[in-house]
């Protein structure tokens, strides 16, 4: 097992190297010249040449790539063309916002998804099953940005229950121990900030959770149905064990193994979904930041974010595989 994990970790290197080549090629070969975008249309040709030289864009693309990779190995991901702030600093100042949102979304998606899936499987072909599965089907079919808009119109505009934008009320400032507003405000015992952060999280979390919730519900239903038809479930029922206990202790426990892997994979996908959700809710995370950077041709930022997201994604896949082997002793990796 340890050999397998080491092998998989080593395999991450070529994958991330490949991601860096792809994203570098798209940004440097196919993209329009960033000089005119950064300096504006009225910049003189001399100014543009000067700017390109200052940012190393006058060198051949291969040289630029080698220098970029040398920088990465020293922990230098470059600087934003606009703010001149190091990319790592820009990304990590926004990263906790995205992670906080993604974790809340995956918790919500898992709880509701597993609940709906179990109910649907236990009450197969009933009205509850049909409603749950239609909800799940609509969940995977609805654009998440549209769902976000509908939630804003209803809960923010019409009912005024929760705020539509941002992460916390402007005047509130929780401490910056972890960067997660919910945790930081609790550490400081600032309940006002906690309440505000929680309120701001409601709509973006539901929006981001919807797609994953639907996938988890469908997966839970199918694995539960398969498990419920197994001989050991029939044996448990024959022994007179209460139905609730059969479902919880015998069926769900075994059905959870593939569900856990789906949840892990979904967490990786949520980072992609965050791009749209953060744009709708003006959430100050890396998703919204990336879209803005792409629009402004801020190459170093885009490269840094894509590398980070790809890294998290492949690490999540690795973690899922390892967890799967721990949960199911029949799985042997070599």
């Amino acid at each position: 097992m340890i050999k397998y994990i080491i092998k998989r970790i080593l395999l991450l290197i070529p994958v991330l190297l490949g991601v860096s080549i792809i994203i570098f090629s798209i940004m440097r070969v196919f993209s329009p010249d960033p000089a005119s975008i950064v300096l504006g249309q009225h910049a003189t040709p001399e100014k543009m040449v000067e700017w390109r030289e200052a940012n190393g864009l006058n060198k051949p693309v291969t040289v630029q790539y080698v220098e970029y990779m040398q920088g990465i190995f020293k922990g230098d991901f470059g600087k934003s063309y606009y703010t001149k702030t190091p990319v790592a600093k820009e990304i990590f100042s926004r990263f906790p916002a995205t992670i906080e949102l993604a974790i809340c979304a995956i918790i919500l998606a898992s709880i509701i998804g597993i609940f709906l899936g179990v109910i649907s499987a236990v009450k197969k072909n009933s009205i509850i099953d049909n409603i749950s599965m239609i909800t799940a089907l609509v969940g995977v079919s609805m654009p998440i940005f549209w769902l976000g808009i509908l939630l804003i119109i209803l809960f923010s505009g019409t009912l005024g229950w929760v705020p539509a934008q941002g992460r916390i009320e402007t005047l509130l400032r929780p401490g910056s121990v972890t960067g997660f507003y919910l945790i930081d405000s609790l550490i400081e015992g600032d309940l006002e900030s906690f309440g505000s952060a929680l309120k701001h999280l409601v709509l973006p979390s539901i929006t981001l959770a919807m797609y994953s919730m639907a996938i988890i519900a469908r997966m839970t239903r199918s694995t539960m149905l398969e498990t419920l038809s197994k001989d050991y479930i029939r044996t448990a029922r024959a022994k007179g064990i209460a139905e609730g206990k059969v479902i919880r202790r015998h069926a769900l426990k075994n059905a959870l193994i593939p569900i856990v892997t789906v949840i892990g994979i979904q967490l990786g996908y949520l980072l992609g979904g965050a791009v749209l959700t953060e744009t709708v809710f003006a959430w100050p995370g890396i998703g919204k930041f990336t879209v803005e950077a792409i629009m402004k041709s801020d190459f170093p930022i885009v490269q840094g974010v894509v590398l980070l997201v790809a890294f998290i994604f492949v690490v999540m896949n690795l973690v899922v595989d390892i967890v799967y082997a721990f949960l199911d002793p029949r799985i042997k990796y070599s």
Binding site: P14, V15, G18, V19, I22, I23, I26, M27, F30, S31, P32, L137, V138, V140, S141, M142, P143, F145, W146, I149, L150, I152, I153, G157, G268, Y269, L271, G272, G273, V275, L276, T279, V280, T290, V291, I294, M295, S297, V302, V306, V309, A310, F313, V314
Partner: protein, 298 residues
């Protein structure tokens, strides 16, 4: 589902009735699935709207009249008018054409390249397989919407560019399916027989192997259209989709977002159109998957 059976003919002899083709069996299974039939009907209706849009639209979808901008739904404008006074109903109908064409073309593009990559990787194996599939793994490690946004930012706006951006992101999925299916049948006896009688690799792949991996490809392609429609809308919403003033559902939502509290109806109908289209392809895709699966058919 009919199976092979013996029947007595008029002259008293026993004849074996020809078994129904696999296609017929799948078709019967598909049309018995109510959800899949509903999906099919919606898709046919959408195609009808796209083809005959010119005759159905009450107004020119791009005709702006600021005097009647941001009007709520009424008898004259069923879905209301947008910020430029354009009829939203006409624009939603016109948008069907763009969404369906981008969805289908992007999938066709991804399917063609994915099939070639997957077939070569699976059939050839060895280093070629490793190189191709590692490249696919690399592409899969970047969330598709992030990759599509990056491509669109680099290539610029336009339907053709959206097709390329969305299509490229889906290539690895098709390559994986084709490779997996080819690996499972490339050592089968009929493929060996085709090799022995002197067929070249290309002929074996395209004539003997690929027709046998069609089922998973059709299912994936149908579901892939729904993903492509969603991604097209997402790009449009972020302002990276089609060139204005083309009516694209995501673009309509993106532009209307600033009027979210002032004119919320502007955001309702394009969203419903996207959801219904995606839902229809998902229903059909799920139905096809069940119809192609002998276990599910039983």
């Amino acid at each position: 589902m009919k199976t092979q059976k013996a029947v007595q003919t008029e002259n008293g002899s026993i004849a074996i009735e020809k078994p129904e083709s696999q296609f017929k069996q799948m078709w019967y299974a598909l049309i018995q699935n109510k959800a899949a039939v509903a999906g099919m009907i919606i898709i046919i209706f959408l195609i009808f709207l796209a083809v005959f849009a010119k005759f159905i639209m009450p107004y020119d979808p791009n005709y702006a009249d600021l005097a009647i901008n941001k009007q709520a739904p009424s008898a004259a404008h069923w879905f209301g008018t947008d910020e430029q006074g354009r009829d939203i109903f006409s624009r939603v109908i016109d948008g069907t054409k763009i969404s369906l064409s981008v969805g289908v073309t992007a999938v066709a593009f991804a399917l063609s390249l994915g099939t070639i990559f997957g077939a070569v990787a699976g059939y050839k194996g060895g280093k070629i397989d490793t190189v191709i599939m590692r490249f696919m793994d690399i592409m899969l490690s970047i969330p598709d919407i992030l990759l599509a946004i990056t491509f669109m930012a680099a290539l610029g706006r336009g339907i053709d560019k959206a097709v390329i951006a969305i299509g490229i992101c889906s290539i690895p999925e098709y390559a994986r399916i084709v490779r997996g299916s080819i690996l499972s049948i490339k050592d089968s006896e009929y493929v060996q027989a085709a090799k022995v009688i002197g067929n070249n690799d290309m002929r074996i792949i395209f004539k003997h192997i690929l027709p046998n991996v069609l089922s998973p490809m059709i299912v994936r392609a149908t579901l892939g259209i729904s993903t492509a429609v969603l991604n097209t809308a997402a790009l449009g919403f972020l302002g990276l989709g089609v060139q204005p003033p083309a009516a694209e559902w995501g673009d309509m939502l993106g532009r209307a977002r600033v009027f979210i509290f002032e004119a919320p109806y502007m955001l309702i109908f394009p969203g419903i159109a996207i959801t219904i289209t995606v839902l229809a392809f998902n229903l059909l895709g799920d139905g096809l998957r069940d119809a192609f699966d002998p276990k599910a058919r039983k």
